[in-house]
């Protein structure tokens, strides 16, 4: 009797797969897996590279005041990176996700992304995560009607923060608050000039310190110009407003407000300056407005109807 020989390929043979063919199919299977893996990695890398290009484009749009278009791209980058980190969590993908979230003002999400980026090896992002959490908290206190607490948090961020968007926004919040205190002084009929000057000195010092860290921040020059106008130093206020315009401002609204500041200072200086300085002042001023294509000294381009 012929003993049936055991061959583990029997079953496969019956399906028409011989050992040679099986080895080949295993080889092709491995090849396919490797190919898929390469495609996956290349795809992840190209998604990341594309997202980096998109992010850079959004930043350019934001600088040219096309905020809405920039926002749409930040949203796209954030969605792509959210999907990517689910497939392949890398520090870079989390970093890009966090940066987009900062621009979308999703503070908590951004802080969490930077924290993930830190755990995955990106050292610089740990402090960003902390600063963003603190900034989000300060905004919450402000909304809930706790101005003193929020001011304290903004103050910490201005003094110790390293992440520029957070520091810049915090300075703006504090300047507005402190200038409001001056207004309250006048309302309470204290009208103590020393107290007023003390607040203005403090605010000026704070903005100057921020500018030392980031001299090309147009928004900080805008803030300084606003503070100097409260001190009635219209000449310096005008210089700072011109600098702000030249360096670029974050929104159309701020740009227009800054233009109004330029005109306000111009009108004040025309009255204030000694007669022998007016001609040279007007000459200098007119060079700027010519550059900006204003129809006259007190009409910015956007006021032309």
């Amino acid at each position: 009797m012929k003993t049936p020989s055991f061959n583990h390929y029997n079953g496969l043979r019956s399906k028409g797969l011989r050992p040679g063919r099986l080895a080949a199919s295993t080889f092709y299977l491995k090849l396919a897996v490797i190919f898929c893996l390469i495609v996956f990695l290349v795809n992840c890398a190209s998604t990341l590279s594309r997202a980096k290009v998109d992010y850079a484009q959004a930043q350019t749009l934001q600088r040219t005041l096309r905020v809405r278009e920039a926002t749409a791209i930040y949203k796209k980058v954030q969605q792509e990176m959210s999907a990517l980190v689910k497939q392949q969590p890398t520090a870079q993908a989390y970093l890009l996700k966090g940066l987009s979230e900062v621009n979308l003002e999703l503070w908590e999400e951004a802080a969490a992304s930077f924290q993930q980026a830190t755990w995955l090896g990106n050292e610089g992002t740990e402090s960003w995560a902390k600063e963003l959490s603190l900034y989000g908290l300060a905004l919450s206190f402000e909304k809930l009607g706790w101005p003193e607490v929020s001011a304290r948090l903004f103050d910490i961020l201005v003094k110790k923060g390293k992440y520029q968007p957070v520091v810049r926004n915090s300075v703006g919040k504090l300047v507005e608050k402190k200038l409001g205190e001056i207004d309250n002084l006048a309302r309470s009929e204290k009208r103590v000039p020393e107290e007023r000057n003390k607040i203005l000195d403090e605010v000026k010092k704070m903005v100057l310190q921020t500018l030392e860290k980031d001299p090309a921040c147009g928004y900080c020059h805008y803030l300084l110009s606003q503070v100097l106008a409260h001190r009635e130093d219209f000449s310096q206020s005008l210089e700072e407003a011109i600098m702000a315009r030249e360096l670029g401002l974050p929104t159309e609204e701020i740009l227009r407000d800054n233009d109004n500041q330029i005109i306000f200072c111009y009108k004040e200086l025309i009255v204030e300056l000694p007669a022998d300085q007016i001609v040279s002042f007007k000459e200098r001023y007119n060079k700027w407005i010519k550059k900006w294509e204003w129809p006259d000294e007190t009409t910015p381009d956007w006021k032309k109807s």
Partner: protein, 201 residues
Amino acid sequence: MDEKKFDSFLAQALNLIKYFLPLGSTAIFPLLYSTIIWAIKKKENLEAEISGLELSLDPDIIYNKPAKFILKFFEEPPELKEAFKMELEAGDLKSLRQAFRALYPVVGLKEPFLQGLFSEELDRGDYRLIAAQYDSRLKQALSEIEAAENKPGFWATIKKIGKDFLSLGWALINEPELRAWLKAALEKNEKKGGRNENTEL
């Protein structure tokens, strides 16, 4: 400007818009007005101009201005001086500052969307009403736009309307005149719509 041409342009524009916003919505007039201004001034950031009003993507402007700035804002244009004569004479800076918060973006920064939203008050010189209703009216109009934005193609349609206006060759029209034309044409359209509804009934 040719009235018939403008009416036909507006009818087409409303036909496009009605998919996104219900006719009679608060946002229609300011949206159309700022779209046309955007097209005339060849700006590319219409969405930013409108949505930027609410989005605090970037820092805000400083509203706490020196007293001189506030006073000049109210004293220089005769219509504002007249409207706030009482406060100016009494030196009531507190009330002036409150009104400034609402009026500065509309009158001082000439935000086209806000100028459209408060066009009737601007034409009548009713600055006090703008100051009183600023927050509620803006909130309502922006929430309507936010709902419209959820439908695909909203901004593309709005930009198309702007470009269609330019193709009519009326780029030199001034802003108050445009507001008046738009208002008259919209009113005419509303009456026509009302009549059609009645006939259908």
